[in-house]
Symmetry: C2
């Protein structure tokens, strides 16, 4: 069974991990590795590292593994000989899908689709999911511009050499502090940290401010409403500037919670207003739920907490969904083949795993568990922030178990992160001085207690 | 055992596939689907479709499945309980790799690395492989420019909003007719067909001509040498124009054989000269072996046929290698974490499969088989092109089983492609009027005979 608590015998990383990091570094730059992992002996919420340390994992492989390590139902999927066929015969899915594929999509992705979404395309990671949602928005925007006119020869020939009119001057608006991936198109819309962007070329696309609230929220209602208005005015302004310059804004991409950027939350009202402004400007709302999607907020999609007046135009996903891809409303459906396309177009074996994840989430009532464990986490974090104001800022924030808190300085964050690790808790740093929690969907209130105990110990030490 | 020949009972696609295409089309645009596939009953070189037709597959899932359907050694990999751990616990590989990971890389990717390549990074598809090779070239170029100076605050802050000096004006040169993927960075370097590019924005990056030879080669030596010189002069010219404008060319990306563009071959001398020009201009040579790599040319890497004076700076791969990624020379190794990065950084379960593929290729002498079967294919195709000059152009070309031929018109290509399918042969269209062959590495001379017989039948019919 699962460990009853963390058990750490060496420093983390220990000597075995350090040797393996040195070995890997001969093959590739290995500076981002925390430690090597013994996946065979990892179970549930506990990861075991190469030195035999058993660590409570509240980071879940950057929020990507939904049900914890070696979940018995996941083992069943890969043990089934019929499923094994999908694991070893990966198709060019856009051309030769397996019989039964529409049913698989219906039982997995469509069974948890956001409201109004009947269309879904699979991709293989968050970046190609966003890049292809951008492309679908560009096609839709251009088709509106054409107004039914047919495609000219000049369009077809000019696009081959990256020239107008075939290549468009269209843009995607993004927000300061955002993260949408690290391919060059996505990277143009990413603004969370310079390490991701330095030295690389970027497109000239509009950028607006994302709200930065004062906490506690209840004491700063007026200021935070003004902050919403300031940011929304920037969105309007960017639309005006770029549309006037002929660099038409075809879409706005936004995270429901800016995760890499430091778990920055904005109000439902902000998103409601944002949707209205986008519609007014004839652009598409692209919600990037790569990190927020998949259940960690207590709903499958974080934006379901926002009561948007209309469904989002695109919702992109990856990570906990195991496959990348995007949902879209019918009007954004590509009308030509090969444009939203690549060799693999995702991976059916991942969708088999997802189908089971969706069943388990339902069977075991895991979204309810997320709500319970999330409440426990939030209450405990707020209590600690009150008791240790010299270390923790008063801005604990979260929905479900998608929680975060700030230390009072970047140095203190780094120290708290390191000490949590040494005491057997794997958390995730993000932003300037934030620690984010991204536990598995099987994270229980008892795990929250263990985490809070260790954090309290760390706060007493520093 | 494997089928002894094609067996077709319905039109292809048959009624069951057509029903499934209609079902899928409710969920996503399904216009690129050829037919639905029964992967359980497919074996070796034969794919079975949803209507029970058994089809000789010389397209191999757009050249991506190396050993044919349901290869017994692939089944063994996924049946092994120790391996199943990797299939269900996908890590954030750049942070928490599994113990033993360096050995896995050594036994798989590094065991077949191109000459001089000791460094390899895994990615998840051809597009992120190319995008990240571009990024590594940009970092390397910028570091040379900096000449050891440290990174300024202005660089760090300006890149966050896509501005100079942190965001660079650097470019990657590409060739007319090329295909390097469909994310926006890759797409800027793709020029094979307008369908891929129309309506999307592109960066202003240099483009040069790729040689278009007259066939038969032996009768046009002088003209083709002049064609090489013309294209190389364009490369030099583009370097001059872009470098002078401050849009420094950090790398040149090129396929050893332009595949999507119609299997366009250039001479070893062209690539040797190209490498010299790139070096002279202080840029990096990025060989995109996504389609050409993995053994189909009789060597693991097509450019090993070119006798380049020096190793290529980058070699990118995906498809038959089952994992994406790129090899690079040590000097192009990224020196900071998180820049060549994403959540998954590839997929260890694919590397387990690749490790076995590499063993099987060696054990069963498959590169030798490719050479034998390729010779049989080429001889047969040349013979047919002599006997059916009214249908086939005299430009049969190929290395190993990586073969192609042109029909005398686009319409005839479409008809030949369609009729091949109706007679139970799945080939691949590319370029304007080309049919390409991308058989599995287990394609034997007897399969070449069957293919040639069917092609002859088709040429007699049209
Ligand atoms: S870009 Fe998504 S898998 Fe390669």
């Amino acid at each position: 069974g699962e460990a009853s608590g963390p058990s750490v015998k060496t420093t983390v990383p220990g000597p075995k991990s350090r040797q393996m990091i040195a070995d890997l570094d001969k093959i590739q730059f290995a500076g981002s590795v925390f430690y090597f992992t013994d996946y065979k002996n990892s179970l549930g919420n506990y990861v075991v590292d190469a030195d035999g340390n058993s660590i409570l994992d509240v980071f879940s492989q950057i929020s990507s593994l939904p049900l914890g390590y070696n979940h018995p139902d996941m083992h069943k999927v890969v043990q089934d000989p019929d499923n094994q066929i999908a694991f070893i015969n990966r198709p060019a899915l856009g051309i030769f899908p397996a019989q039964g594929w529409p049913e698989k999509l219906t039982n997995s992705l469509l069974s948890v689709a956001p409201k109004g979404h009947t269309q879904v395309n699979t991709m293989a990671c968050g970046s190609c999911s966003n890049e292809n949602a951008f492309k679908a928005a560009f096609m839709w925007y251009r088709n509106k511009q054409r107004g039914g006119a047919s495609i000219s020869d000049e369009e077809n020939s000019s696009c081959l050499v990256n020239r107008a009119p075939g290549s468009t001057p269209f843009t995607i608006m993004s927000f300061k502090g955002s993260f949408h991936g690290q391919t060059l198109g996505c990277l143009t819309t990413t603004h969370s940290r310079s390490i991701f962007k330095l030295d690389f070329p970027a497109l000239d696309w509009p950028i607006a401010s994302f709200p930065r609230y004062k906490y506690p929220l209840e004491d700063h209602v007026k200021e935070n409403e003004a902050e919403d208005r300031r940011c929304l005015a920037e969105v309007e302004e960017q639309f005006e500037i770029y549309n006037k310059a002929g660099k038409f804004v075809a879409g706005v991409v936004v995270e429901p919670i800016q995760a890499e950027g430091g778990d920055v939350h904005a109000s439902p009202e902000f998103f409601q207003q944002l949707q209205r402004i986008i519609k007014k400007n004839g652009a598409a709302l692209i919600l990037d739920e790569v990190q927020t999607g998949g259940g960690a907020t207590g709903k499958y999609w974080c934006h379901e907490h926002f009561n948007l007046p209309d469904p989002a135009d695109f919702v992109t996903f990856s990570k906990k969904m195991l496959t990348g891809g995007f949902y879209s409303l019918p009007e954004f459906r590509p009308q030509q083949g090969l444009k939203i396309f690549n060799t693999w177009m995702g991976d059916p074996s991942k969708v088999l795993l997802l189908e089971k994840v969706v069943q388990v989430v339902k069977r075991d009532n895991l979204l309810k568990l997320v709500e319970l464990s999330g409440k426990k986490l939030m209450d405990g974090l707020k209590d600690l922030s009150n008791r240790f104001p010299q270390h923790m800022k008063n801005n604990v924030r979260g929905i479900g178990t998608f929680c975060a808190f700030d230390l009072t300085s970047p140095q203190k964050r780094d120290e708290a992160f390191f000490r949590l690790q040494q005491h057997g808790v794997q958390s995730g740093p993000c932003g300037e001085q934030t620690i984010r929690l991204r536990p598995f969907l099987v994270f229980q209130p008892k795990h929250a207690d263990i985490f809070l105990d260790v954090l309290e110990k760390v706060l007493k030490e520093i």
